[in-house]
Amino acid sequence: MITKRIIPCLDVRDGRVVKGVNFENIGDVASPVDMAKKYTEAGADELVFYDITASAEGRKLFTEILTETASNVFIPLTVGGGISSIADFDRVLKCGADKVSVNSGAIRNPGIITEAAKLYGDQCVVLSCDIKRVGGEFRVFSRGGRDDTGMEAIEWIKRCVGMGAGEVVVNSIDTDGVKTGFDIELLDLVCKAVSVPVIASGGAGSIDHFIELFRRIPTIDAGLAASIFHFDEVSISDLKDAMAAEGIPVRRIK
């Protein structure tokens, strides 16, 4: 039986992992390569690296870190942040990424999804979206959650999956960083709307929040989190033990 995936997310700026609350107050944490190794040892099923630097220098550092991580860590790696062209896909895939996530780049140019899916396969193209409730509907936000695109989220996700996105990361801005649990309402809607794997992001504050996620939405594939893992509030091995005890299929490192 296929297992539910636990995915630590590493936001990298200028070569360091950072994590903010509600996309603000970003604080320094640690070396991405060390953290990737630590999470892999603890049983992480996959790693997500987001490049949140804007400068060319930062991008170069990111590429170096990615290469070093991929040389040392042998689980799937997804890379996102600033991906807006096929050249960007090519650059990170050559450094050892297995999947590439597009967010604002796809909002500016949705055609990149189809183009990348044709070149690298659907499994390589991950749609990542930042979603927030605005006036009773779920809206897609761009630029790291700063700009309201005015687009309705479920329609946008369906459209992108139709164009070739092989997985969807749903990040709820409303629950991100506040540690009150995943956005079950939003995630349930997305899971009902598409048939590709869906990864929940935003809101995990405890082991119970993951249990709640997989119990209430049996079709969800993975849970993603950052700060609770970074600050050792939740250990991945404890989380997986707890999931197994609840009868949720997980891969455990013996």
Binding site: G121, Q123, C124, D221
Partner: protein
């Protein structure tokens, strides 16, 4: 030296790094002479069957791989590389494979119940159907990482492991010195390393 065949598809960086991790020397190559000189061959691959099969044939690498396999050189196909070892692939039409293992590659949608997501992406466990030297360092129930929408069918005699995803899908197959893994050993953590180590020791 292990030849990792480069025919322009897939992420070869991880495969090369994982072999380096277990101390195996590998070269990423599309040079037929180099492939013939190496003592082992890995055929990787991500993408579409037809395109990959054509690239292998047109470059002449298909012939070299078949010749070296017939001469007894250990060969490992990974993911699409495994599928290419079979007789035929039914992905958007009917396409000829390398014919090194009897069987055909068919859509998993043909055999799995509705409600299962396609592609089959994630960590799933191995059920051994035959004893194989490829598994000498791992045990039944170990998890490996899969990403695929097609599977090897009509090949009961060569299946060495299956995985359950609504149906029993071929996870690994072997025919003499020719081996294939549907999953990605280079992305399957320690279990994957142990499988690569076993291949290197064949």
């Amino acid at each position: 030296m292990i030849a990792i065949i480069d025919y322009g598809v897939g992420n070869l960086f991880s495969l090369k790094s994982s072999l380096a991790e277990i101390g195996a020397e590998a070269v990423v190559t599309s040079d037929k002479k180099v492939i013939a000189e190496c003592d082992r061959i890995i055929l990787p691959g991500v993408g579409a069957f037809e395109d990959a099969a054509r690239k292998l044939r047109e470059s002449g690498m298909a012939e070299v791989v078949k010749k070296e396999a017939a001469a007894g050189k250990p060969l490992l196909g990974i993911c699409l590389g495994m599928q290419l070892m079979f007789d035929k692939g039914y992905e958007y039409g009917e396409h000829e494979g390398l014919g090194l293992i009897h069987g055909n590659v068919r859509p998993i949608a043909d055999v799995i119940p509705e409600g299962y997501k396609i592609p089959h992406i994630g960590w799933n466990l191995l059920n051994f159907t035959k004893k194989s030297p490829l598994f000498k360092y791992i045990k039944e129930g170990d998890y490996v990482y899969f990403v695929h929408s097609y599977y090897a069918a009509d090949c009961d005699e060569s299946v060495i492991a299956t995985t359950e995803y609504g149906a029993d899908l071929t996870a690994a197959a072997a025919n003499g010195n020719v081996y294939g893994c549907q999953f990605h050993p280079e992305k399957s953590g320690k279990v994957g390393m142990k499988i690569l180590k076993a291949f290197v020791e064949l």
